[in-house]
Each structure stands twice: as structure tokens, then as C-alpha cells.
């Protein structure tokens, strides 16, 4: 069973499609990293899943049921854009309202639990408007965790968090997926952070899903490469292109792909009369993979 299954989802605003025939599959228990440029349709998709926007077409299924099913929806925790809290109310009152909204049996106990998770126990009586951006974000996360949601939808949750906040966030997400069988859909521009926790990725562009991939597949596709800098990079580039399948000049430095041994390259260039000024081993991470994919998409090519 899939936690989220979307087919042909469309959403237009004044004739412009923000989401245009999107297909998406999020398996139960996954941490699904939802990646895309600004305005690619990530937040709109998340809002559609949460029922905050009315779709222009397509189908959304949550845990095999229609997304309007009251039972499924009552088990969704969400943090979309910013925490939905009343600024003049205290943190406790805001959380209490959400606990009542979820009809929780022990609201006080549950609030203490989530505040402990995000390490905000001391701020329960503070007014929400008096909290810092990072603290507000933590409260938003705490709010989304109330009632052990089966599906957690987080839109840019890392924004505004400090290093400690990011670490806590990682721990929470891994914990709830492992111990509570929850599924997480998370969008973020901080791909390095996402890479540490995601089990699946979905890459969206222009309202369309351009690629869905598991973390394992991503790992396999992320190739090793060596960065070389010579006195005469032009000559080195033409020489290396004859020797290796993929060689690129990026930011005035040469990138040689699928070569794990830098010494081989140094030796090859030396034999051809070129001295290497700088050489380092590297690996394509999520960020490079994503940027490469975006570049190829812009060119109209397919990876």
C-alpha cells in the first residue's frame, strides 16, 4: 500500500497550471524528499494533499482511500509554509487547540510529549508571537507531531532552524518512521540535509514529476569524479576527453567522471607534458545530481 498515490493531479491559478498532470507515489514508511525549484509546484502539491486547495483535476489517494476521507485526514500532521498558530495565544494554548482539534484523549500529556521532543518545554507559557523564527518552526513541528500522525507533510521545515534544530529534526523524522510506521513527505531546498534522511526522492519541475527515485538508486547513479586543475586546462580537457567517456569543464576546473584514482590522471597528464596544480576526488551528491538533472531538463534532454 502507498501512503500517497497521485495520478494526473492538476491545479491552475487564473489559467496558469502550478501543478500539471502530476503523478506521485509515496510508499508507507518512506521519508520522501520532494525537490524542485521555487515555483515548481511543491507547496501547491502539499496543499492539495492536505485539502487546502481545490484540485482542477486528477486523483489523490491517501493510504488507498480518497484524500477527503475523514478517517485518513485525521491522521495527517502538517507544517505548510509557517506554523498555523494564533500569535497572541501562548504556545500551550495553541497546542491545546490542535490537540482538541484532533480529539486526543490526553491532550496535556501529549502536548508535554511533543514539546519535549522539540526541546521547547520551557516555552510553553510564552506567547507565540514572542518566539524567534527557529522556535516558531519547532512549535510548528511539535504541532504536526501531535497524535502520532500516520502521514507527516512538511513544507520547508528546516527553514530558520539552527544546527541543533536541524539535528533534532533529523532524529524526529527517522524515529517516527522507524518506530511509529509514519510516512513523511518533506520538501526542502537544503538538499544536503535531505540527503541524510530521505529514503525516496521526487523531483518536480513546472508542475510535473520529472523523476521519482529511491535513495538506493540515487546512490548508484551518483558517480565518482575527480576535479583537476592544470596550467593549461584547455589542452588537458581535449587530452582527457580522448581518454575518458565523460569529461567536463565546470567553473574553470576539469571534472573527470568514473575515475576513482586521481594518480592515474596525474600520470596521464604528466606523460602528455602537463603539470597538475590541483586534484581532488569527489562524488556527485543529491545537490549535484539535482542540478545536473535540471540542466538536462532545460536543454530538453533526458538523463
Amino acid at each position: 500500500m502507498n501512503a500517497i498515490e497521485i495520478r494526473g493531479l492538476k491545479k491552475s491559478f487564473r489559467g496558469m497550471f502550478a501543478v500539471d498532470g502530476l503523478d506521485m507515489t509515496v510508499p508507507v514508511g518512506a521519508i520522501y524528499g520532494f525537490i524542485g525549484e521555487n515555483g515548481s509546484g511543491k507547496s501547491t502539491t502539499e496543499k492539495l494533499i492536505c485539502g487546502l486547495l481545490v484540485p482542477s483535476g486528477g486523483e489523490i489517494k491517501l493510504f488507498g482511500k480518497d484524500y477527503t476521507d475523514a478517517g485518513v485526514r485525521s491522521k495527517i500532521g502538517a507544517l505548510i509554509e509557517n506554523p498555523g498558530c494564533f500569535p497572541s495565544c501562548s504556545v500551550w494554548h495553541n497546542l491545546m487547540m490542535q490537540a482538541l482539534n484532533l480529539n486526543l484523549a490526553n491532550p496535556e500529556e501529549e502536548i508535554r510529549r511533543v514539546l519535549k521532543i522539540v526541546r521547547m518545554e520551557g516555552s510553553a507559557n510564552n506567547k507565540f508571537k514572542n518566539l524567534s523564527l527557529g522556535m516558531k518552526q519547532r512549535i510548528g513541528i511539535a504541532m504536526s507531531l501531535l497524535g502520532d500522525p500516520a502521514l507527516l507533510i512538511l513544507d520547508e521545515p528546516i527553514n530558520g532552524l539552527d544546527a541543533d534544530g536541524m539535528r533534532i529534526m533529523r532524529e524526529i523524522l527517522v524515529d517516527i518512521t522507524k518506530n511509529y510506521s509514519a510516512t513523511v513527505l518533506i520538501s526542502s531546498h537544503i538538499l544536503g540535509e535531505l540527503e541524510k534522511i530521505a529514503t525516496h526522492y521526487g523531483i518536480i519541475r513546472g508542475g510535473k514529476m520529472i523523476q521519482e527515485i529511491t535513495a538506493e538508486e540515487m546512490e548508484n547513479r551518483c558517480r565518482n569524479f575527480v576535479v583537476v586543475n592544470c596550467a593549461d586546462n584547455k589542452k588537458a580537457l581535449s587530452l582527457l576527453k580522448k581518454q575518458y567517456k565523460k569529461v567536463e569543464l565546470v567553473d574553470d576546473k576539469i571534472q573527470v567522471y568514473d575515475e576513482e584514482n586521481p594518480e592515474t590522471i596525474v600520470e596521464f597528464l604528466y606523460k602528455n607534458g602537463l603539470l597538475v596544480n590541483e586534484i581532488k576526488k569527489n562524488k556527485i551528491g543529491l545537490e549535484e545530481y539535482y542540478l545536473d538533472l535540471m540542466r538536462n531538463q532545460s536543454k530538453g534532454g533526458k538523463k
Partner: protein
Amino acid sequence: MITNSTKLQFDHPSFVQRIKSMLKVDFYRLFRTPLFYIMVMVSALIPALVLTMVGANEAEGAKTFTNVWQVVESISGANKGAGIMDLATMCNINMVFIFTAIMISIFVSHDYSSGYNKSIFTVHSKKVDYVISKAIVGFISGACMIVAYLLGAIIAGAICGLSFSLGKATVANLFACIFSKIGLMAIFVPLYIIVSVFFKQKLWLSIIGSFVVGILFYPVAMLTSPLNAGILHLLLCLAGSAAFGVLFGYLATLILNKRDLF
């Protein structure tokens, strides 16, 4: 990763459970924010203000109010120049319907401006839950404001030395009048909810819109529930309120279902 054999169980909350949880939230918020208390306080103070203003505009020797109940509502047909709306005929308990407009607008608009609606509508897929809950909370708040106005009028009238004689009306008429007005809240509140969900977080447009709608429906409150209202007035108000309340509530739900939250 959870295997495909894993079965997740979802409780299906009944209609009553859904409404109960929404009501809990709305009442929790209502009684923990100053808005409700301010509006009740204003309703209680308005009779004193009416007495002061009308008294200040009276010609020498003329008495606009001769008893306490005139501050509350007029007896139907008692005012021969009913076409002329003076301060005394306009400024009475029916003003509470306008205060309710302001209260509902602020209450609903804050749901949008704070973003709290995101939490509500993520959990509550049925938008009717929201409308019913807001209607009940608005109805009870309106009822409290009517009672506050009545008590304020009694106290202010007593301080001004006005008579407590009901004249042509009886105590039963007074109760029928008050309960009819409380019943009429079921028409006004869903109307204000329609305007508020239409304007979403635009508070001032919502207040102005609700105010205009309130003024348009103001004569309904004046004509259907006079001070000498009888059982027929009461039944008419309750039946009409129920019917129009459901209709306006349905329209508010329709707007919520058809429109985006943002």
C-alpha cells in the same frame, strides 16, 4: 520501510465526534481570547450609551424613554411614524446583531490570517464541520450578547429612574421577544459566516461586508420580534431561523468547498 502486508487502521470519526472536536477548539478559543468578553461588555454598556445620547438630544420637557423596556425594543404599531427611523427606534437590542457581525468577522478572519485554518482543514476534511461549529459558537455568543444587553438596559434604566412597567406588553411577551431575537441569531450568524469565509483573511472587508448584510437584515429583527411578541412571533422566528440558518450554512459550506483556502 513498511512492507506491503502492513495494515494501517484508521478510525472513522462520526459526524458527532467531528463536530464535538471542532466545538471544543472553538469554545476553548472563544473563552481564552478577549474578543468574546469585550463584545459582551460592549453589549452590556450600549444601553447606557443609548440612554445618555437620546437624553442629550431630547427637547426640553420631552421624554423619549418612559420605561426601561423601550431601551430594549419597541411595541409593534406603537410608533405612528414608523417610517422615520430615529435614534430611539434604531438604537435598541437589535444592535447586538451588528456587534455579532463584527465578532464573527474577527473570529473567522483570524482563523485565516493566523494560518490556523490549515490545521483545521487538514484534519477536518468536511468543511461543514467548520461552518456548524462556527455557527453554534456564534449563536451562543450572540445569545450571551442579547442577554448582556437586556441586563445592561435594566441596570442603566434603573439608574436613570425609568419605570419598569411593560405597558401594553406582558412578561410573557418580553420573554417571547428575547427568545425570538436569540432564535434570529441562527439567521444572522450563518450570513456573517458566508461573508467571512468569502473574504477570508481580509478582516476589514469582512467586517464591512457583514455590517452591510447585518443592516440589510436589520428590519427582520425589528419587525419579527417586537416587545409585545407572542407565541406566534416566537414560532415564526424559530422556524424561519432554522430554515434560513440551514440554507445560509449550506451556502457557506459550498463557498468553502469550491474555493481555495489561500
